[in-house]
């Protein structure tokens, strides 16, 4: 692998830095690495990553009471064995269940990285039916409120019926599954 800075020598220093939530990987030769004071250096990947992520992660930790904090840091994902401390060092979750286990920490973390805490993009085609219906209901509710505000009660009633219809469809689905 060739150095990112001089483009000449073999790169043997690997850096990961997070700038505004974007993860950047940088590879430098020893020479360029020692000359640069833009970053903090270390050949140990985790060490540098820990420092760089710390800026994002530590405020979330500090905001909580220390007792809570202690408790939370002891929680370990029962599927992959990751602790929150391990996550904050690596910057990586170990499995999908980690998202449930560390749920109470994620709200502020995601807010800091993305400025948002609610997915509004694509939904899986095959298994995302429920969420699609939920979104449809929210959409219809908005339209119903609008209709009521415009005193168009006839339209509001039609929308209400549509909402009920989807509601019962969703319930049927849940009952069918379990």
């Amino acid at each position: 692998m060739i150095c990112d800075k001089c483009g000449e020598k073999e790169a043997n220093v690997h850096l990961t830095k997070i700038v505004n939530g974007e993860k950047n990987e940088i590879y430098l030769c020893e020479n360029c690495a020692s000359q640069s004071n833009e970053f903090s250096f270390g050949t140990d990947h985790n060490f540098t990553f820990q420092n760089l992520l710390a800026g994002i992660l530590s405020p979330a930790i500090n905001n909580e009471s220390s007792q809570n904090n202690l408790l939370n840091n002891k929680v370990v994902c029962n599927k992959c064995n990751s602790s929150y401390q391990e996550f904050s060092q690596k910057g990586l979750f170990g499995c999908a269940e980690c998202y449930d286990i560390f749920e109470n920490k994620l709200e502020s973390l995601m807010k800091r990285i993305h400025g948002n805490t609610e997915h509004s993009g694509k939904v899986p085609q095959r298994r995302g039916g429920r969420l699609k219906l939920k979104r449809k209901i929210n959409d219809l509710r908005d339209q119903m409120q609008e209709a009521i505000a415009m005193e168009n009660f006839e339209k509001a009633a039609i929308l209400r019926d549509q909402i009920h219809e989807i509601d019962s469809e969703m319930e049927g689905e849940v009952n069918g599954e379990h």
Partner: protein, 343 residues
């Protein structure tokens, strides 16, 4: 196991906005629900994912993929894939269960067991994000037909790194901005871009003055916006950059035409006759010549050739072309030869 096609077809096609935009890319991150992410998965689980992917791909007819086992292939082949931007640096590190599914045209690929189980990537020359999103979306559906992806109603598609969660979408554009750089406007433009939730970085080398004046611009935010909104945001910012760059080129043409012509033709001369050339110098001179082509100062050369050369002059490609390992000194000589063979 298939062999790698070392030639580059991708840049032999014309793409929209090609005077400024070299290529565009869409990447989607996905994971299988019941298996730990690659950083925690066992060797056997990662291998199982490769097998599952193989099956899904065998069961459909629309797309043809070749499977490259990144543990089995040679170091030089891994470097080649990296230089072609087909795999990430992270993925180039040898580990059991890492694989790449690649189509013949090399514009669609699926990295298996990089940071996430799947990284679907599609790329095209020029500016073509809408078409790319359509294609990536289709391949995502195709995988999802037979695989259960990790997805939560609140967080969307779950990824190993929290910076990818939600859509798992990274859209990016590689652009050539020599005039913005020469007229000292680049920092201002870049500053404005980073205010808009986009990340800018040099393609080759760090800092605000990357080799070859080539920049990569991509979305940073993946959660809370739809894929279409993320892409539209990048597209509109990009349109402004294209306009700014063209404006800066026009200003240079109006005020500095003689100096500009002289500088570009000198760079062309060095590329044509140098005996040895470093990659940094080559990137800079190729940038000058590309600008010359786009401005009509150099007429008997195609800009696509320059884009192709950006990849062909990199070390692993030169070594493959020579058929043996090369020292730094030999690389610089071979690089000059390669350039002269093409232009």
């Amino acid at each position: 196991m298939e062999n790698i096609d070392y030639s580059s077809h991708l840049f032999s096609e014309a793409g929209p906005e090609k005077d400024v935009i070299i290529s565009s890319r869409i990447r989607l991150a996905r994971n299988i629900e019941d298996i730990s992410f690659p950083n925690k998965a066992k060797d056997s689980e990662r291998k199982e994912i490769v097998e599952m992917t193989k099956q899904v791909i065998a069961d459909q007819e629309k797309y043809q993929f070749n499977l490259l086992d990144l543990y089995e292939i040679s170091d030089i082949d891994r470097e080649i894939l990296l230089e072609k931007h087909l795999i990430s640096r992270d993925h180039a590190k040898r580990r059991v269960g890492k694989a790449l599914f690649l189509n013949n045209k090399q514009d669609i690929s699926i990295m298996v067991n990089e940071e996430d189980h799947f990284r679907i990537q599609v790329l095209s020359p020029g500016m073509d994000l809408d078409k790319l999103w359509k294609k990536a979306n289709e391949i995502d559906d195709l995988l999802e037909e037979n695989l259960d992806f990790a997805f939560s109603e609140k967080w969307g598609y779950l990824t190993a790194c929290p910076t990818n969660v939600g859509t798992g979408l990274r859209a990016s554009i590689m652009c050539h901005l020599p005039a913005l750089n020469l007229t000292n406007r680049i920092d201002k433009v870049m500053g404005a871009i980073s205010q808009l939730g986009l990340a800018v970085r040099g393609m080759y080398g760090e800092g605000s003055n990357p080799a070859g004046n080539i920049y990569q611009i991509s979305n940073q935010i993946t959660l809370g916006h739809s894929e279409e909104d993320i892409i539209d945001n990048l597209k509109s910012v990009n349109q402004q950059i294209v306009e700014q760059e063209r404006k800066a080129r026009q200003i240079m043409l109006n005020n500095e035409i003689d100096n500009l012509k002289d500088a570009i033709k000198r760079s062309f001369g060095v590329l044509k006759y140098a005996y040895t050339i470093s990659s940094k110098e080559a990137l800079q001179l190729l940038s000058d010549v590309k600008l010359g082509i786009d401005l009509g100062i150099i007429n008997d050369l195609s800009a696509d050739l320059i884009s192709e050369l950006l990849i062909l002059i990199r070390p692993a490609h030169l070594k493959i072309s020579e058929g043996r390992d090369l020292t730094n000194k030999e690389l610089n000589i071979k690089r000059a030869e390669m350039i002269q063979e093409k232009i």
